[in-house]
């Protein structure tokens, strides 16, 4: 879809959809990149009382006074609620006090398991990715977590090559068997749509397609026979106000285009 016509682009739809996952008053573990924008967008719209935790040791309840490129930018420290240790933030998470966490992914599978460590191509060549960071912890320990990633066939695979950050493993009982305390993934927000998980099986299904995207586009870019919701909808398009806020949060368009 052309931004000039619709008034928004797919990155903006993704951030908007991610922000919609944050409820007012929640404690949110904010990941790198798009989630940073989603948290501030949610705070500006419907979740004024949400609190954000950042793995480098920041808790913050207000939009940063200047646009950020990354969570460690000084405007994100300035006027924050608490500057402390990574272990303090991880403690809140492990203690079960984090409502929602956001993670980016390179490869995801049917059960929402994420890989950001090692991928193998068809010829067996291994490519090294940056690794877990906090993702394994957020996926293991948060009450729920939301995955944000690009929707491409080589990324949406039957089974991840390496399980960096646990989803529902091999099915819905798996987390309990392994002893994981967090709730597991609640949504995957992609460049094509929003996917959720069947609470009976732990399997991912397509919940909504982004404006202008067809179900076929999604299936074509998914490496297994993806289930489709009976109540499949279209992802809500961000309105004018939302786009304006986003442009203020990312004026150069580094994260969300122009």
């Amino acid at each position: 879809m052309d931004t000039d016509i619709a008034g928004f682009n797919m990155r903006q739809v993704m951030v908007s959809a991610a922000s919609a996952e944050i409820k007012n008053g929640e404690v949110v573990f904010v990941g790198m990149r798009l989630p940073m924008l989603a948290f501030f967008l949610a705070k500006s719209l419907h979740a004024a009382d949400a609190v954000g935790l950042y793995e480098l040791g920041i808790a913050r309840d207000s939009v940063a006074p200047m646009p950020l490129m990354t969570m460690g930018d000084l405007p994100n420290l300035s006027g924050s609620l608490w500057l402390a240790d990574t272990g303090d933030m991880m403690g809140l998470l492990q203690r079960g006090l984090v409502d929602a966490s956001f993670i980016g992914g390179a490869q995801v599978d049917r059960f929402g398991n994420l890989n950001t460590s090692y991928v193998r191509d068809k010829n067996g060549k291994v490519t090294r990715l940056p690794g877990s960071g906090g993702a394994c912890d957020l996926a293991s320990l948060g009450k729920r977590h939301i995955i944000i990633m690009s929707h491409e066939k080589h990324r949406f695979v039957e089974r991840v090559d390496y399980l960096t950050s646990p989803g529902y493993g091999t099915g819905v009982e798996w987390r309990k068997e392994k002893g994981l305390t967090g709730g597991g993934p609640s949504a995957v927000i992609t460049t094509l749509g929003v996917l959720r998980f069947d609470i009976k099986t732990g399997e991912m299904y397509l919940a909504s397609t982004h404006p202008g995207v067809t179900v076929e586009d999604v299936l074509k870019n998914t490496g297994w026979s993806l289930k489709i919701s009976d109540t499949l909808s279209v992802t809500r398009a961000p309105g004018r106000e939302e786009i304006d806020i986003l442009k203020n949060l990312d004026p150069g368009g580094f994260w969300t285009g122009n």
Binding site: M32, L56, L83, M90, G131, S132, K178
Partner: protein, 303 residues
């Protein structure tokens, strides 16, 4: 008071980081990364280092690209705003470095265990995951009280912690502010500590605010005056993050040749922090300086 620990950067690295050392560096994640110290390690051609850290932004990538590293214990290695670290990727893929994969929480607990003199600490993370496959310092245990499954993380006690701080006296009593990442446990866990500091101040200045002291000064081995020593990462109270630098680095690091050019611009010709600032240029430094000040209120430690 004991003798001064103030050294120039060359001498500090020469004396306390022999080849083969294990090194925690960049423990504050995205801020206060000791780039100046890292570059001196490159210039001295150290070999077979083990790098330990959570998320080091591009410093690990630089040290790997320069051939200083044989092993990495980290949660994430890359370029925070752009993604992959190309030297890291090449290093792993061609087998020149080995990786012990951590999460931010497992590396935190490994250093907390080291800081507390314990051989391990438990966590609830990583159960069922593949970190277990690529990290021999992680084992599943049963809680002796509840029977529940836990991840035990073996302690890490690095040979040296290299930490950038805002101000230190010559004995290693130093103030730091901002987010701390895992810097506090990194100091306590390490056998030696090298501090690089934006400013060198009198001891009395430090003692007027003992809550800001990052680690007990008596454990510090060397103090180095290194203004702009964290550039291009941000230093609270001093300068902002230099995003352009990270974007440029991405391009230069894409292949070995251009990475060598990058080294020859930013690392090789530098003898001291003055040289570095000259290359950086006054205009760029001005643009990074703190402009919107937010000063804390003083508190009273009197009696």
């Amino acid at each position: 008071m004991a003798e001064s620990k103030l050294l120039n950067l060359q001498d500090a690295i020469k004396r306390y980081i022999p080849s083969g050392s294990s090194l925690v560096i960049g423990a504050t994640l995205e801020t206060m990364i000791p780039f100046a110290a890292g570059h001196e390690i490159i210039r001295q051609g150290k070999k077979n280092l083990t790098l330990i850290g959570p998320i080091s932004d591009i410093l690990f990538d630089q040290l790997i690209g320069a051939g200083c590293v044989s092993s990495v214990k980290a949660a994430w290695v890359g370029n925070v705003i752009t993604g992959s670290g190309y030297n890291f990727r090449r290093g792993v893929e061609n087998g020149s470095i080995t990786v012990e994969d951590h999460s931010n929480l497992t590396i935190t607990m490994a250093l907390r265990a080291g800081a507390m003199g314990l051989p391990f600490m438990p966590t609830l993370t990583a159960l069922g995951g593949d970190l277990y496959k690529t990290n021999t310092g992680i084992k599943e245990i049963d809680c002796p009280f509840t029977g529940r499954k836990l991840t035990a993380v073996a302690s890490i006690n690095p040979d040296v912690a290299v930490i950038h701080v805002q101000r230190s006296d010559e004995h290693g009593n130093a103030h730091a502010w901002g987010n701390f990442g895992i810097a506090r446990e990194a100091c306590l866990a390490s056998e030696k500590i090298i501090l690089t500091a934006e400013e060198i101040v009198e001891t009395e200045f430090i003692k007027r605010d003992p809550n800001r002291v990052i680690t007990p000064g008596f454990r510090v081995s060397a103090v180095v005056h290194a203004p702009w020593g964290a550039h291009p990462s941000p230093a609270p109270g001093f300068y902002n993050r230099d995003h352009e630098f990270f974007l440029e680095y991405r391009e230069f690091s894409k292949n070995r040749e251009s990475f060598r050019n990058w080294l020859e611009t930013w690392v090789t010709p530098v003898r001291n922090s003055g040289d570095y600032r000259k290359i950086l240029g006054a205009g760029r430094m001005d643009s990074l300086k703190i402009k919107n000040h937010m000063l804390s209120e003083g508190v009273d430690y009197g009696y």
